[in-house]
């Protein structure tokens, strides 16, 4: 006979740990949600999933024309590969954080009808992002090849920067979701903040063009600097990142993830009280 589930509303345990247990129990749901996001996004388009690869390529072409010819940025290897690798890392971050927030606020009707772990939407957004950045490796490697960027063994370390970026994005996604449940216009504010944040991160320009003083601040305070750099180490520079990049990246990723997870899970009981 199957064990009887017992639910007692006064038993709360430690919310962040309880949530981990529930996520493991509902892991299939999280994969199903990610699958739904990936398959429905392009379901009615002719090119289908190819758009995950074409979209950043299109951006790359525009930015290459705008910046490498007009501003004449100097990068270590080809500029198109530089900007494409930066964009992929940045898009992963901006899309997953936005999606975890939007899914919770606008798709949250489900949370009012049936119990599912509240972190499901954010986790599904991260998995969707991982699938997309995986697919995007194909055009990135093609551009690397065509523009003479050496492809080295460091490529094998590709999952490490992606994992750190995912941990950071999950933490930020959960934090802003918590706010967005109370004030839906946080979604709009975040979009503006993202734009500013992107310009403070060496995504489309080489970090070398920043004046010395600004560069020091960007490097110290902007976690995305480290994640973009580590990602590029694997797929663009072709060398292992130095410890002074790896250690802050791990630190930012872990601390953000823990804060986001704890804040979200402690607050999530109140979510269903918000109509």
């Amino acid at each position: 006979m199957k064990p009887l589930l017992v639910y007692d509303s006064t038993f709360r345990g430690i919310p962040p740990l309880e949530e981990v247990r529930e996520v493991i129990r509902y892991r299939d749901l999280i994969f199903q949600l990610a699958r739904r996001d990936v398959t429905t996004r392009y379901k009615r388009s002719v090119l289908g999933i190819a758009w995950t690869m074409l979209n950043p390529l299109g951006m790359m072409v525009v930015l290459t024309i705008a910046f490498s010819h007009i501003f004449r940025f100097q990068t270590e290897h080809s500029y198109p590969a530089y900007v494409l690798s930066g964009l992929l890392a940045w898009n992963f971050f901006s899309q997953t954080t936005t999606a975890s927030m939007v899914n919770l606020v606008w798709g949250g009707g489900l949370l009012h009808r049936i119990y599912i772990p509240r972190t499901s939407f954010a986790l599904a957004a991260i998995i969707t992002g991982l699938i997309n950045i995986g697919f995007a490796l194909v055009p990135l490697l093609l551009i690397d090849l065509f523009t003479g960027v050496p492809i080295r063994w460091t490529l094998l370390f590709f999952p490490i920067p992606v994992a750190l970026l995912a941990a950071f994005a999950l933490g930020i996604g959960l934090l802003i979701s918590t706010f967005a449940v109370y004030y839906p216009d946080v979604v709009e504010m975040y979009n503006i903040a993202l734009l500013g944040w992107m310009y403070l991160t060496p995504v489309i320009y080489p970090v070398g063009i920043l004046p010395e003083t600004i560069r020091a601040w960007v490097m110290r305070l902007n976690p995305m600097y480290y994640f973009v750099e580590i990602y590029r180490s694997a797929v663009y520079y072709g060398r292992l990142p130095t410890l002074d990049v790896i250690i802050p990246a791990i630190g930012f990723a872990m601390i953000t993830l823990i804060i986001g997870w704890v804040v979200f899970t402690y607050k999530s009981d109140e979510f269903s009280y918000r109509v």
Partner: protein, 257 residues
């Protein structure tokens, strides 16, 4: 688990209260809230959607919950189905609860019937493997064999509801929550649903039936609870509770204390 260890109750509610806080004025946005907060003008009112509700539901019975709109029935279901934790009091639920509140909640119009069955199953807490075992039965019950690989946007609303019902009913719940659902599909399908619900009941499933329909309560339930403005008016034998509720509807005054 030993048979004798199975509790006699399916649901125990002790002094369950839910208080919603609503801002005295509506703050739709963070900007508005920030301005009001700076002016120290944030005021909230609270209202009790449920107030000190206590009753038990026995294992294996069909239990009715009646009350007018806004009586707190939906909030009560949320509290039992774990969507919401009560502000005060204690809820204990023994067994897996499957709410049939909104059939096909979580269905996606662009996905096929097949994909939606798996998605909805996962929402109800089943693994992919468990759903694979149920899949054939679900499709047969829904009678949608010919459309199962078509996207749901091509379904009629009746077909949509049938698929939702078929998934939810196949979940082998210990406690099934039915919220005004016996109005879906055509009459033949409704009869099939009622038959299936009775079959589940015979297999020992506890059923919570939420409705305004006092006749349905009197005919299907053994016991019932009547809620009014978040307070429990009466709990007891279904026919008695249904009768008291019906009378109150004519006089407009709740007369039972």
């Amino acid at each position: 688990m030993n048979r004798s260890m199975i509790p006699e109750f399916a649901v125990i509610l002790e002094n369950v209260s839910v208080r919603y806080r609503i801002p005295a004025e509506r703050y739709g946005t963070f900007k508005e809230f920030a301005i009001r907060w700076l002016q120290r003008r944030v005021r909230t009112q609270s209202f009790w959607a449920l107030h000190r509700v206590s009753f038990e539901v026995y294992r294996g019975e069909v239990f009715g919950i009646i009350g007018a709109n806004g009586a707190g029935k939906s909030t009560l279901l949320k509290v039992i189905s774990r969507v919401m934790r009560p502000t005060e009091g204690r809820v204990r639920v023994y067994g897996r609860v499957v709410p049939l509140l909104e059939l096909g909640a979580g269905f996606h119009p662009e996905l096929t019937g097949r994909e939606n069955i798996f998605l909805n199953g996962a929402i109800l807490g089943f693994t992919r493997r468990e759903m694979e075992a149920k899949f054939q039965r679900i499709v047969e019950f829904s009678e949608l064999q010919d459309f199962i690989d078509a996207p749901l946007r091509t379904y009629s609303s009746g077909m949509w509801a049938r698929l939702g019902f078929a998934v939810a009913i196949d979940t082998e719940p210990d406690i099934l929550i039915l919220d005004e659902i016996l109005s879906v599909g055509d009459e033949a399908f409704q009869r099939k649903c009622v038959a299936r619900i009775e079959e589940l009941h015979q297999h020992g499933v506890t059923i919570l039936l939420v409705t305004h329909n006092t006749e349905l309560v009197a005919s299907m339930c053994s016991r019932a609870a009547w809620l009014d403005h978040g307070r429990l008016q009466l709990v007891g034998e279904a026919a008695v509770v249904a009768q008291a509720y019906r009378e109150s509807q004519f006089t407009g005054i709740p007369q039972v204390t």
